[in-house]
Each structure stands twice: as structure tokens, then as C-alpha cells.
Amino acid sequence: MNAVDATDRAATQEEVEAPSLLTIILDTNPHAWALLADSLPLSKAVANLLVFINAHLAINYANRVAVVASHSERAEWLYPTPADATLEQAHSNGDGENGNRAGTGGAVQPPDDANKYRPFAQLEYAFMTNLQRLMRTTTPAAISSAPSTMLAGALTRALAYISKQSASTNPTTTATTHFNYSDPSSVAGGNSLNPSDDTTTTSRSNQRLTTRILIVSVSGDLAETYIELMNAIFACQRLSIPIDVLKLAGDPTFLQQAADTTNGIYLSLSTPLARAGMLQYLMFAFLPDAAARERLVMPGEGEGVDFRAACFCHKRVVDIGFVCSICLSIFCEPLADGTCLLCGSHLSMANYGQKPVVVARPKKKGKKKRVVDGGVETPGSGRETPVPG
């Protein structure tokens, strides 16, 4: 039709900026926040985060936001409020349990203030109510048993939400964004599923929802869910969803990899002073969306990514490990029965990973024993692949 009435509609369409969905995963591990209470209490961090979210919403009226709490024993939606939670809320609020003003409304009824942009107020209200409920329902037993945080679960929830949102926003492109796992050429073609790579869809790609994930992390110990976490990370890579990481405390191992793999930004605020400037880091580094990032040099630690992996057997982070030559599973020590835990291949080791013998000792009868492990913890470079026998 554009050709018929001779107006160039395509040109005006180009100027509409693509809406952007920001999914924030807030690590709410209570222990870790308690440790940070001196330099950056949770309330302050949340306030900073809210300002950041508001900024994101203000950039484009179509921008959306979602917040998942990665709690110590479960992952929970903070915003948007899940359907079952709204029901429960309606009940509990009738008791006036908390006695705060914000809690007296109905399902989601933020205070009506003429001085505040309505979406901000709605978000802040829902966010805060859900966060309070999350903290209220946390039992001491739950946090004492789980030292870590359910980051893998939170990532999975975020991914599910993202794909749902993209599907509803771009009904025309959903068919192409489905990955055809059985088609070998699509695997060989690379990791990108972004239909805008295709020149024919460029005009449509403007309407596409660009998505990204921001992980605000305070705890380490993610090795427990290594496989799940890496699966989520690779799913993000495949869907070209950058994972940004703001590390406030804890061991960086896998999150650094996540940011590196998905082209996200990794920033670590390890000192109290740096944490005090959290707002600036958020606004400066993490606010630009995918479209803007193409034109910017992004900050972040580009070098020295910790690429270590966790073994499949003990969930230890390994320097030198043993890799199954069939399915590439990682093990921290030679397997007892020589059978790969994942694919069941029978593996055998050449004489590697023995206890080092550096002194030629006089032979004593029967003293020398073959020691199978030991030497495994010795750090160094390179890996030895066991040979299947």
C-alpha cells in the first residue's frame, strides 16, 4: 500500500525506537545482605535499583521491566506480581498485618499521588509489597540450610518470561525465532537466532522487543547448580540476550562467564566506596539497551575472565580437571570405576595424575604403590583427556 499512495511510511517507522524489556534478577540471599549491611543495606540497594528501573521506564514509554528475586531457597517474582500472590495478598491485607499504609489497598493499588508518574508508583508499590512478603515468608530454617541463592531458577524464570513477552510482542516473528533443533544447518550457522540478522526482516526488526537481563548478585557458591546455570547462560547466548552482572559481593566465577558469553557487562563493586556509588554504576553502565550498545564502547572488565568450570561429580570448581572424551563432562578426579557419570562410556587413564615422584629413591621391596589420586589439586595449565579403553 505504501507504493500506492506514494507516501514513504517506512521512513517514519524507522524512527520509532524498539521497546526494551529489562529483566532484573535481584539476589536476595539474606545472609549475604546481612554481611553487607554496613556498606550497602538492602533498602538502599533497592532504592538505587528503583531509581534505575524508573530511568529505564522513562526512556521509552513502551519499555517494560520484570524483577525476579533469587532467594536462598527459591526464586520468586517481585514484579510483575504473580496471579496467585495477588489473591493471597488480598486476604492477608485484610488483617492489616503490617500496619503500613502501602499495604491497605486491594490487589495492586498503589497510592495515588499527583506528583509521581503513575507507572513508577505502581511498580514501586508492587515491588515493595512482594519483597516484604518474600522476607516475611522466609523461615530461619530455610536460610540456614541453603548458603547460596537460587540463581539458576531465577534465570530460568526470567528466560521463560522473556520468551513469553517476545512471543506476544512479535507474533510475526515467533515462527522464525523458534529454534529448529533437528535442522543441522541451524546449528552450524551459529548461535544467533535474531531474525534481524536476516536482511529481509530489518524493517520489522524495529518493532521487536529487545531484551536483556541484569543480575544484581551478592553471593557466590553457585557451583551447586553449575549445569543448570550454564544451560540458562547458553540459552541466553542463543537467543542473543545479554546478561549484565553487577556483583556486589561473593565469588565471581560463573557470573563473569555469563556476561562474557552473552556479551553482557560485568562490573564488580568490591569495596564499600564502590558500593556506595551503585547508582552511578547502574545508570552509567547498565542503562543503555542493546541498540545503544552497538554504538558505544561498553565498560566492564574485558580481560581475565575466570573460565573455570565446576565438576559434575562433587560440584567443585576445578583448576585442572578430567574431561570425558565422549561427552565432555568434567570431573575433578579420576572416576572410581572408570565409567563416565553422564554418558556411561568406559574411560581409562594413562599414567597421568599420579603422585609426583621427584626423588629417585632406592628401591624397597613392595613399598612403591600406585597412587591414583593426588596431584589432581595441583594447579597448572592444560587438561589431560582420559582415553576410553
Binding site: 516484604q132 556509588g277 615422584v357 613392595g366
Partner: protein, 655 residues
């Protein structure tokens, strides 16, 4: 090669020990004894140990996988001699079997020793097994065998010749290797990490030319004979004949049916054949009316080829281009040469068919992909036009880590990370109650209406100079210790400025890394950079060698190991030397620049400032580049020293 009987004691029972090529027998001298006779397959033996030569007791320990057998030699005067004899025989037998296992990988050369028991199969690698399954040509399998690759010096030399970088690395490493490491040891180590390169090279080399269309290649040579008449001669090689038979079954059939009778001599057959209409047809030439006829060969003109992929295979309608021929109202006159039926002018058709045939020889039937199509439901599924389908069903294999609980459940207190230990010190009740208080809206600036006044919580005030906490120069965010004493308000001016500057510095560092050429060498000259590269690669080579040796637990190679450690130390010196060279180069350049400034000042009277820090290069640049390598070297030598110390002490205690 059976050894003489020797008298030994095994499990306190007297007996005799004999051994032949495959087995080691021990039979008790008293048949009624509790200990049954023993038979050990030589191929199962993993190690042999004997008592020291000075020792009064003479014993041999035979290690078989997890078991071990100790035989004490009891002969009064010849115990040592007997033991040595048995050991030597065994050693030879083991060596034979090992060599046999390697060579038996090519099935043509079967060695009975290796095939007999499972022990021989352990030597086969995974790639071997796969290759065995895939390869239809057994004679090629030798290329997949690690041992053969390692010992094929010709191949290694030719690989070195084809790859200059590898050659350089090899030579450099060979020059720098410690004296205690012999050349064979070194090369074995060098190639053991590069088997894949060798294998690829071997395969590359073993590629040979495929078939070609043989008939057009055979041409007449015309020689003027003695009588002045031109004589046409035809030279054919044996290979060409077999190729003709292979490519043109009709010729084979004709040859089979005509050669004893009516053509007595194959020569006559060939001369007639090359003058016949059949040849013209096979070459795809038009048969003219005045071409000579040949009663013997002309019947084969009507021969319908029964074989070949195109003619026999059932073609499903979905891809059959001629399937609807009878329904089409028009005829594609222009393309009629492409039709199979038009044998009058079949050259293109013939060439196509020929190419098909040649290619079908190149890729032999390798499974389903080339199987006849359209035969059953499964193959029809394969034929579906997939790009038109909306989406395919997931076809993934679910992998599960088995018995994981067995491992993870056992993790004790010591496995907890530093974080987890800190968490454990906290009281969960207090943690939760403090957090529950923390997330009350009043902490987020909730006013009486419930609106969050975030600006108040943030406490950001652009006029606020934060004099009280601004005692640090530049708000250095790395200075964690002093910052802790002064409590820093979240969102204070200092903090935000610090954040900005740290982000900007990381941005500029990123940009420096991203820009390629100018900083690619980090300000080093090309020659220094090359020296550094080669030093680095040899160092890595030795590190590989070190770890393999260090973790091999082989006590007989300790002197080799000591040599390697000293080489690693020398690698540090070499790196240092490169650094000094770079530093000198950098200073030279600075001198030159200063000289230029001086000249400029003398000429014009104006001072020009230069930024000396922008020159780059020098020792600092080198150090920065090799930092990981130096770290790896330190770690290696530390690991060695630690092990040395412990074992020296053990030896001191034990001895």
C-alpha cells in the same frame, strides 16, 4: 622361548615357575597343597618389580591389574640368575605383545597374542574404534593409530616442512631442552601433544586422485610405418583397461562374450572396439550413417545399463522431474538434449551420467543418506520439504548425571566456601528480622500517603561537596581499607564520582583493547615481539612436558624432571632477557625523541612537550604480556619444590 623351570615359593608353598610367550605358570611342587596352580596371561601384566640386586632375598613381584603375585626364588646358588632369566623372558614377552597390539590394529597383520585376551584391546583408542567402524578400507586404519603416528619420522618431518610456525617451535624447543632429556624422549613428548596435527597431515597426504573419464583419454598415436603408410597405434595401460570395464559395464560384457570367440586375441577386440559405433555411443558422439558397422559389437548398442544410481533407483514422485511428463501439454523442445530418451544426441546426458558414476565411486554407500529414497514411511519423512514446515519437533537426548548424590551428599564442613562459613556465623533469626525491618517502606522514604520519595533515600545532592569524606585523593575506589574507616554514605558525591571515573577508565581500557594495530604489539618492535612469541611458545612447550612428567609418577625419570625444572628456571631468564632488550629499545626511542625536541628547541627556540608515557613498550609491556606465563612457571617450580621437600624428608626418615 620357554624358560627353564625355576624353584620359587609363592604364598609359602614351594613350586616352580615357568613362562612361555603368553603365560606365566606357577605349579606347586606338592600337588595336594592348598595353593592351586597359577596361570597369569602375560598380556595382563601391568608391572614387574624385583628386589634390589644387593638384597639377600630374591623375589619377583608381578602386578596384574589390581592383584599382585610375589614369587621368592629359593634356589640355593642360582636364585638371582633364575630370577633374572624369568624377568627377562617376561619382559620380552610383554614387549612383543605390546608391539603386537599396536600392529594388530591393521587387521591384515593379526598377532595372536593380543587378540587372545581383553588386555590387548585396552591399547586401542576411541578414535581407533570409531575409525574402525567407519572406514571401509582397512589399510588406511594405520593412520589412526597413535603409536604409529608417533614413530613415523617421515611424516613428522613432512609436517614440520609444511608448517613453518611448528617447525620454528620445534627447533627452538629442541635447542633449549635440558641435557638430561634425550632427543627421542623430547620428540616423543613433543608429538604426543600434537597427534591430531599428525593425523590430519597423514590424511591429507593419503588423499589420492579420483577416477576420471577414461575413454577420451585414450588416443591414437599415428606413426608413419616402414612402408610409408600411417599406422595407428593405441597405447593402453592395465589401469585404463580396468577403468573402462568399471565405468562401462557394456564393454566388459562385450569383452567377456567375444574374446575367446570370435576374437581370438584381446588386441583384436580393442582395435575393433575403438573403431566401432559402440565407442561412439559410449563417448556420446553422433553415429553417422557411414560409420562402419561391426556385426560382433553392434548388438551391444542396444544394451540397457542395468546398474548405476540414476537408472535403477526408484525416484519418488515428489522429486521426479519427469514424473508428470505425460500430463504436460507442451514440450520443452529447447531442453530435449537433457532427456534420457533422446539417445540420438546424448552427449550432455552421457556426460551427466558419467559424472554421476564417477562420483558414486568417490563416495561409497555410507548408510542412510545415500540409500534409495521414497521406499518407506521413514524415508518419506526425510524427503519432506522441511523449509516449508513451521517447526520441527525437538529431537534431543536427555542426559542425566548418575549417582550424583553419592558424591555431593558427602561434602563436609571443609568444603564450604569462605562465604558460606561467614554465613554460618550469623544468626538466621536476626538476619531475617533485620532484613524484614530493612524493607519496610519507611526505609525507602515512604511518606504519609505511601509514596516513595526515592530522592530522599538516595541522599544525592549535587551541591553537597562531601568535605567530610572527601579526604581521599580522587576518591580512589580501590583503596578499601581506609575507606572503611570513614563510613561512606551511599550515593554520596565521592562515591558517585569514584564510580564515574572507574567506569570511564574501564571504557577507555576497553577501547584500547578493541583498537587493533597500533597497540597490537603494545609498543614493542616486531623483532622483539617475535622473540617474545617464540620464547613464550617454547616455555609453554616445556611446561606441558613438565606437568606430564611430574604427574606421571614415574620414578625412573626423576633426573629428566630435574633437568626440566632447571630449564623452566632458564625460561624465566630468557623472558627477562627479552624484557631487557625491549627496555633498551624503548630507551633508544625516547633518546631519539628527546634529541628531536632539543633540535627543535635549538632551531626555533620553542619548547615542545612530548608525552613520554605514550611511547609504550619497554620492560613493562613485556612483563604485562608474559605475566600469565611467568605465573605458570612459578606455580610449576613451586609444585616441584614442594614435592621435592616432602619426599626428601620421607627419604631421610625412611633411610
Amino acid at each position: 622361548m620357554s624358560s627353564p623351570k625355576t624353584s620359587v615359593v609363592y604364598k609359602k608353598a614351594n613350586g616352580s615357575l615357568t613362562c612361555d610367550k603368553r603365560h606365566l605358570f606357577w605349579s606347586p611342587s606338592a600337588p595336594s597343597g592348598a595353593t592351586p596352580p597359577l596361570k597369569i596371561a602375560v598380556a595382563d601384566i601391568t608391572n614387574l618389580q624385583q628386589t634390589g640386586e644387593a638384597s639377600a632375598k630374591v623375589a619377583l613381584k608381578v602386578l596384574v591389574k589390581d592383584d599382585s603375585y610375589v614369587f621368592s626364588f629359593t634356589s640355593k646358588d642360582a636364585a638371582r640368575k633364575e630370577q633374572v632369566a624369568v624377568t627377562d623372558t617376561l619382559r620380552d614377552a610383554i614387549a612383543t605383545i605390546k608391539a603386537g597390539a599396536a600392529s594388530s590394529l591393521a587387521p591384515a597383520v593379526g598377532t595372536p597374542g593380543a587378540a587372545e585376551n581383553g588386555g590387548g584391546d585396552a591399547g586401542q583408542s576411541a578414535s581407533m574404534a570409531i575409525a574402525k567402524a567407519l572406514s571401509a578400507k582397512p589399510q588406511d586404519e594405520g593412520w589412526y593409530d597413535d603409536n604409529r603416528l608417533k614413530s613415523d619420522f617421515q611424516l613428522q618431518r613432512s609436517l614440520l616442512e609444511s608448517s613453518k610456525a611448528l617447525d620454528e617451535r620445534f627447533r627452538q624447543a629442541l635447542r633449549d631442552k635440558p641435557d638430561t632429556v634425550s632427543v627421542p624422549q623430547f620428540t616423543a613428548q613433543f608429538w604426543s601433544t600434537r597427534l591430531h596435527l599428525l593425523r590430519a597431515h597423514a590424511m591429507e597426504k593419503s588423499q589420492k586422485e579420483g577416477e576420471y573419464n577414461v575413454l577420451p583419454e585414450i588416443k591414437y598415436n599415428t606413426i608413419i610405418g616402414a612402408d610409408g603408410e600411417p599406422i595407428k597405434t593405441l597405447n593402453m595401460t592395465k589401469e585404463q583397461v580396468s577403468l573402462i570395464f568399471k565405468q562401462y559395464p557394456v564393454v566388459r560384457q562385450a569383452y567377456n562374450e567375444t574374446v575367446p570367440k570370435p576374437f581370438a586375441d584381446p588386441k583384436i577386440f580393442w582395435s575393433r572396439f575403438f573403431a566401432s559405433r559402440l565407442l561412439k555411443k559410449l563417448k556420446g558422439l553422433r553415429i553417422e550413417k557411414n560409420d562402419p558397422t561391426d556385426p560382433a559389437l553392434d548388438p551391444y548398442l542396444e544394451y540397457q545399463e542395468a546398474s548405476g544410481p540414476a537408472s535403477t533407483a526408484h525416484i519418488p514422485h515428489i522429486i521426479d522431474l519427469e514424473g508428470n511428463e505425460q500430463n504436460t501439454k507442451f514440450h520443452l523442445e529447447g531442453d530435449y538434449e537433457m532427456r534420457a530418451a533422446k539417445h540420438d544426441r546424448p552427449i550432455l546426458h552421457l556426460l551427466n551420467q558419467m559424472s554421476e558414476k564417477l562420483l558414486s565411486h568417490v563416495a561409497p554407500e555410507d548408510g542412510d543418506a545415500h540409500a534409495p529414497i521414497g521406499m518407506d514411511e521413514g524415508t518419506f519423512e526425510q524427503l519432506q520439504l522441511r523449509d516449508l514446515a513451521m517447526q520441527d519437533t525437538d529431537n534431543r537426548v536427555v542426559l542425566n548425571v548418575r549417582e550424583q548424590q553419592r558424591y555431593t551428599g558427602a561434602s563436609g564442613e571443609d568444603e564450604l566456601s569462605a562465604d558460606a562459613r561467614l554465613y554460618a556465623k550469623q544468626d538466621p533469626n536476626r538476619v531475617i528480622s533485620s532484613l524484614q525491618n530493612g524493607v519496610q517502606p519507611r526505609n525507602l522514604g515512604s511518606d504519609e500517603q505511601g509514596t516513595l520519595k526515592l530522592d530522599r533515600v538516595l541522599g544525592y545532592d549535587s551541591d553537597d561537596d562531601d568535605e567530610d569524606v572527601d579526604d581521599e585523593p580522587n576518591g580512589g575506589h580501590t583503596n578499601g581499607t581506609s575507606a572503611k574507616k570513614v563510613s561512606i554514605r551511599v550515593g554520596s558525591h565521592t562515591a558517585l564520582t569514584g564510580a564515574s571515573s572507574s567506569i570511564l577508565s574501564s571504557v577507555s581500557q576497553r577501547r584500547r583493547n578493541a583498537s587493533s594495530d597500533a597497540h597490537g604489539l603494545n609498543g614493542l618492535s616486531q623483532s622483539v615481539f617475535d622473540t617474545l612469541t617464540i620464547t613464550h611458545s617454547t616455555t609453554t612447550e616445556f611446561l606441558h612436558y613438565f606437568w606430564t612428567l611430574f604427574l606421571s609418577g614415574d620414578s625412573s625419570r626423576t633426573s629428566e624432571l630435574t633437568g626440566l625444572v632447571s630449564t623452566l628456571d632458564r625460561s624465566l631468564d630468557r623472558i627477562k632477557a627479552v624484557g631487557e632488550q625491549a627496555e633498551k629499545e624503548c630507551q633508544d626511542r625516547l633518546e631519539k625523541m628527546r634529541g628531536q625536541v632539543k633540535d627543535y628547541f635549538q632551531r626555533t627556540g620553542k619548547k615542545r612537550r612530548i608525552d613520554e608515557s605514550a611511547v609504550g613498550g619497554g620492560k613493562a609491556a613485556v612483563d604485562e604480556m608474559v605475566r600469565p606465563t611467568v605465573g605458570a612457571l612459578k606455580q610449576a617450580s613451586e609444585a616441584y619444590r614442594r614435592a621435592l621437600e616432602v619426599q626428601m624428608r620421607e627419604v631421610a626418615v625412611g633411610g
